[in-house]
């Protein structure tokens, strides 16, 4: 029928509230190909999390069509991995048990996959550690391993590195690209950070607020690994930045808070 892994058509979402509602998303049209890395960027409150939660099946109350591999998304499932801004590990489980979650480590195949993933996210030696013993970056890598163990068709990441310091963040971006190049899992990655968006993506989706609409999509064809200091990278970054500034101006102007 179609060749797209993920298809979003005329997606609209409205939050009703007393004294009027918020049009969080309006007429979103977006496709993601198998193995593609999409980043979604936009000002705070433009509906990025809302979009991701709908694709994850966490929010089923919307208008329009959202299909994964041809099937309408009916609810959460292991074919859609989700990484929250915070790691959200189960504090009473060790690292390996957090990754396994509802799968038993006594199962040979699961145990082997968990070891492989611990290797992949570079947490060897910490299998038996509890979440309180991990740094923020390590905990987030456990969360990524947990999502990957289920072999999701698409991995949805909602500002996963937002709480990390710049150094750890850069390290995690490279780690994620490594994982992506090994596994070829389709990624949809929400971020505030323009550098991050350009560094990671095949395409950068720019959203604008009130109502949340796609403002533009910037393809990034630079080969990996990318260097943030090269002129080509800076050119692309400036392109995304200027798009971003345009919508920021509109947003400020509309809300009457013009300077």
């Amino acid at each position: 029928m179609t060749t797209h892994l993920l298809e979003i058509e005329n997606l609209s979402k409205r939050f009703e509230r007393q004294g009027g509602g918020v049009q969080a998303l309006q007429n979103i049209r977006l496709q993601a190909e198998e193995g593609e890395f999409l980043t979604v960027i936009g000002p705070s409150g433009c509906g990025k999390s809302t979009l991701l939660r709908i694709v994850a099946g966490l929010d089923a109350d919307y208008e329009g069509e959202v299909r994964l591999a041809g099937g309408r998304i009916a609810g959460p499932g292991i074919d859609k991995g989700f990484i929250f801004q915070e790691p959200r590990l189960f504090p009473w489980l060790t690292v390996e048990k957090n990754i396994a979650a509802d799968l038993s480590l006594r199962d040979k195949a699961t145990r082997r996959r968990v070891s492989e993933l611990i290797e992949l996210v570079k947490l060897n030696g910490f299998e038996k550690a509890y979440p309180r013993e991990l740094s923020g970056g390590m905990a987030q890598r456990v969360a990524i391993a947990r999502a990957l163990l289920r072999n999701p068709r698409v991995l949805l990441l909602d500002e996963p590195f937002g709480a990390l310091d710049a150094f750890t963040r850069a390290h995690m971006q490279e780690a994620l690209l490594d994982i992506w190049q090994t596994n070829r899992t389709t990624m949809i990655f929400v971020t505030h950070d323009i550098d991050e968006a350009v560094f990671l993506a095949n395409r950068v989706v720019i959203l604008k607020p009130r109502p949340g609409e796609i403002s533009s999509i910037v393809p990034v064809t630079l080969p990996y690994p990318r260097k943030k200091t090269t002129p080509v990278f800076q050119d692309l970054r400036l392109r995304v930045l200027s798009e971003f500034e345009k919508i920021e101006e509109v947003a400020w102007g509309e809300s009457g808070a013009g300077i």
């Binding site: 959460p76 979650a101 509802d102």
Partner: protein, 290 residues
């Protein structure tokens, strides 16, 4: 605060860099696990006030300046304990009280847990049971004790039921609270991981509520321990409560003190056991440990 421990900690700190440079994270993590040992100095510090207090008490009561009927001296109390120990009465009374506490706690705490799970997990269950249980919770144990004696006779059963009645509510309230206090952010994780309803209960809700459930156990045991006094003071010919009653009736105040002492020591012993269990089960918790 404590010299012995400080010195120990310092030697560990100097030993740690070697382990880290050796690249063995397991060793580094071990270091953080080291539990603070209770040294002789800690014990001395904790015992300071009681020891001084008892010395002053002995000085006044022993010198005959205070009537032994009002305040028997510590030595008299100690010798009474020794006498009761020699005749074996100390152990039979303590044993029977402990048995009642345990049976009452198992019955009341068990039912409280079941009711708590029912109400915690189902909105319908809450609507059905909670208002009634909250009403019953407010009735003092002492007030309903005569009814239990009327219904269940003067034997062991009425005593166990009186204790169970007290043990029920702390367990019930904390079981409901525990289930209802699951972190919504972890609940979302369980949805994203597509947990079944059963897995959500087993792998999220129950582990999340363990701290609250253990608090329920502790409070419930404490109330059982208080209720056994009620039960034995009202009607009994055995147990520590009876010992106190007997002491009062026969103007042997030292027996009242012995009874109080046993309650304190055994109560603390039980509480320590539960806390040991707590430390084993809740090692994962990342909270201020003082």
């Amino acid at each position: 605060m404590n010299k012995v421990i400080e010195v120990k900690a310092r030697t560990e700190a100097t030993a740690a860099p070697d382990a880290e440079s050796a690249g063995t994270p397991a060793v580094v993590r071990k270091k953080r696990h080291v539990r603070r040992r209770i040294g002789p100095l800690d014990i001395a510090l904790g015992a300071l006030i009681p020891v001084v207090g008892i010395a002053i008490w002995q000085f006044y009561s022993g010198s005959g300046r205070v009537d032994s009927f009002f305040l028997p001296s510590p030595l008299l109390i100690a010798s009474t304990v020794a006498d009761l120990g020699a005749t074996g009465e100390l152990f039979t009374h303590t044993g029977i009280s402990l048995q009642r506490v345990l049976l009452g706690f198992l019955l009341g705490g068990g039912l409280g847990l079941i009711a708590g799970l029912l109400v915690g997990f189902s909105k319908r269950g809450e609507e059905l049971f909670d208002p009634m249980l909250q009403l019953l919770r407010m009735t003092p144990n002492l007030a309903v004790a005569p009814l239990f004696i009327l219904w269940f006779g003067f034997g062991e059963l009425s005593k166990v039921v009186i204790i169970a009645n007290g043990a029920f509510f702390p367990m019930y309230v904390n079981a409901v609270l525990g289930i209802r206090s699951v972190d919504n952010r972890l609940y979302e994780v369980s949805k994203v991981l597509a947990y079944s309803r059963f897995d959500t209960i087993r792998r999220l809700i129950l582990p999340s509520s363990v701290p609250q459930l253990l608090l329920g156990v502790r409070l419930s045991l404490a109330v059982s321990w208080l209720s056994v006094v009620v039960a034995e003071l009202i009607n009994s010919t055995s147990g520590i409560g009876y010992l106190i009653y007997y002491g009062q009736y026969n103007s042997r105040t030292e027996l009242i003190f012995v009874g109080i002492l046993i309650f304190a020591v055994a109560g603390k012993g039980i509480d320590s056991l539960v806390r040991l269990l707590e430390r084993r089960l809740l090692g994962w918790r990342d909270t201020y440990k003082g």
